[in-house]
């Protein structure tokens, strides 16, 4: 059986950047397995602009951003299989995949990079009472129907959740002639980017109602309307605040979940906060030689950060092969988020291997103004950075210099906190 150096699961932005970086760092036999019919993943249906400002210093659309990487995959002669679903991986780095041409394949690799991305939270994950008529879509499904297949899923629209995809779809459907009546958001803030609230809602006068949710679905065969109500602090509907909206379409933009079924089945430990694998500073999971990057690791706001992270994972996978599979995990430092910091990625630092600065990405649980991001090495505060604003909708990052880390030989834990100003 042929042994690959690296099998990348998923050919979206993370998988492509990881494969390219691994090849550029000396990995020879690289194979990408992609479930869809082309490379690029979800970028292919994200036809709006705003991608690539950090990576290419220009504003690209999703398909253009994907094409830049797909061209490089071809130029580097990196092997890939499309329409191919991975159904199983194991800790021995055996990958089981199926497609229509080759049937069932069992492939052996020296390393694996998990780059499966995420999927949308469906209606079943919410507690919306009522019947099950047609006309209720996740925002990403509607995006695919309009942008790829070329149909309009409906004409009078209510959107539940103010995540970025919901906001983007409010504009898209408005431009295509639909009437978007309202966006309802359970939380007192939006998890979407500011520029999307302004350019997708404000530009078209679409109201955004906070602390509001759907309490009733109307309609039998097809959706005929929804009832919205204001919610109290315990997310219970406030009596007499119900409002009926006539609509034939309800879009759900209520969060994304990393798609980790095959990681979980392989016994790779997952972080309950991110729903992605626990990784160290090499983006290596707790299964040796299996790495993770992109939205399967934690959900990102910007693809540029996905590409950066994935390039780093690809390079580290190449290094792992050069080291002949030996992971140096002698010293382990745990990273923690507390006091408003929901999670950190990575969750583990192996400082003996650290020959570069450490980038820690994290998210906060609510909006903080004029607060401090503080970093503690054991119990000692080593960094306190003032931020005018941090919000759950925008991922934060902090860089720790390797000299700082090396000055602490008995470092056991790194804690990141929000301290109010």
């Amino acid at each position: 059986m042929k042994t690959y150096d690296l099998i990348v699961i998923g050919g979206g932005p993370a998988g492509m950047a990881a494969a390219i970086s691994a090849r550029e760092n000396g990995c020879e036999d690289v194979l990408i397995l992609e479930r869809g019919s082309s490379l690029g993943g979800i970028l292919n249906q994200c036809i709006h602009n705003g991608f690539g400002l950090l990576t290419f210093h220009e504003e690209l659309t999703g398909p253009e951003y994907a094409a830049r990487y797909a061209e490089k995959i071809c130029a580097l002669n990196i092997d890939y299989q499309l329409n191919t679903t991975v159904i199983r991986i194991d800790r021995e780095k055996k990958v089981t995949a199926i497609n229509a041409d080759k049937g069932l394949q069992i492939l052996q690799s020296k390393t694996i990079i998990l780059a499966m991305g995420c999927r949308e939270r469906p209606r079943g994950a919410l507690n919306i009472p009522g019947s099950r008529p047609a006309g209720i879509f996740s925002a990403g499904t509607a995006q695919r129907i309009i942008n790829i297949d070329g149909y309009m899923p409906g004409h009078n629209v209510v959107i539940l959740g103010s995540g970025d995809i919901g906001l983007i779809m409010a504009r898209r459907m408005t431009l295509e002639g639909a009437k978007v009546k309202v966006v309802a958001e359970l939380m007192p803030y939006s998890s979407g980017l500011k520029r999307n609230i302004v350019q997708c809602l404000d530009d078209f006068g679409i109201p955004l109602k906070f602390r509001t949710s759907v309490v009733k679905i109307h309609g039998d065969k097809r959706l005929t309307g929804v009832t919205l109500a204001r919610m109290d602090d315990r997310n219970k509907p406030i009596p007499d605040t119900e409002e009926f909206y006539e609509c034939d379409t309800l879009l759900l933009s209520v969060g994304l979940i990393p798609e980790n079924e095959i990681s979980d089945e392989a016994g790779i430990p997952l972080d309950p906060s991110t729903c992605g694998p626990v990784v160290n500073n090499d983006f290596e999971t707790e299964a040796e030689g299996i790495f993770a990057c992109g939205n399967v690791l934690h959900v990102h706001d910007l693809v540029d950060f996905v590409s950066q992270e994935a390039a780093s994972a690809g390079k580290n996978a190449a290094c792992y092969i050069r080291r002949n599979g030996l992971s140096n995990k002698e010293r382990t430092v745990r990273l923690f988020g507390s006091d408003g910091v929901r999670y950190t990625v990575p969750q583990i630092l192996n400082p003996d291997r650290k020959d570069e600065d450490l980038t820690v990405r994290f998210r906060v649980g609510e909006v903080y103004q004029n607060a401090f991001i503080s970093v503690f090495f054991n119990d000692q505060c080593i960094l306190r950075r003032k931020k005018p604003i941090v919000t759950p909708g925008e991922m934060e990052l902090i860089k720790l210099r390797k000299e700082q880390i090396n000055q602490f030989p008995d470092l056991k834990s790194i804690t990141i906190k929000i301290e109010k100003g």
């Binding site: 094409a67 530009d203 604003i389």
Partner: protein, 128 residues
């Protein structure tokens, strides 16, 4: 004098900026906290622009439509006219990224270009 309210998009803070507009143009701007916000508000009042991204029909392609964009921002007031003009546009496969789809959309001087490749459908695939 008219007061225009603008939410700044330069950073997550989202300052609420008030712009007083008189017959001679902008009279005063308040509520911003940095120069980026000041410039953003002035631009939004004087000549707001938006890039339009949408799709047009493809004949004989592997996919039924191709994604397109205006090469740059067009005046915000022209966005819906741009959509209307593109509704009737059809292109023949193959289409390559960057191909010209519509010249000088709505007389703005700005072209609409393809943002995706769409290959020609190969009927030989279906003959056997």
């Amino acid at each position: 004098m008219e007061i225009r309210y603008i939410t700044c998009i330069c950073c997550p803070f989202g300052c609420q900026i008030e712009v007083a507009v008189g017959s001679g143009g902008i009279q005063s701007i308040s509520g911003y906290t940095c120069n980026r916000g000041l410039n953003f508000a002035a631009n939004e009042v004087n000549h707001p622009e938006r890039m339009v991204t949408t799709t047009v029909r493809v004949i004989g392609g592997m996919q039924p439509q191709v994604s397109v964009k205006t090469r740059k921002g067009i005046p915000k007031s022209e966005v819906f006219r741009c959509m209307e003009e593109l509704k009737s546009v059809e292109v023949h496969a193959p289409v390559r990224i960057g191909d010209l789809i519509r010249e000088n959309i709505c007389g703005t001087g700005i072209d609409v270009i393809a943002t995706k490749d769409v290959q020609q459908i190969n009927f030989q695939n279906f003959s056997d």
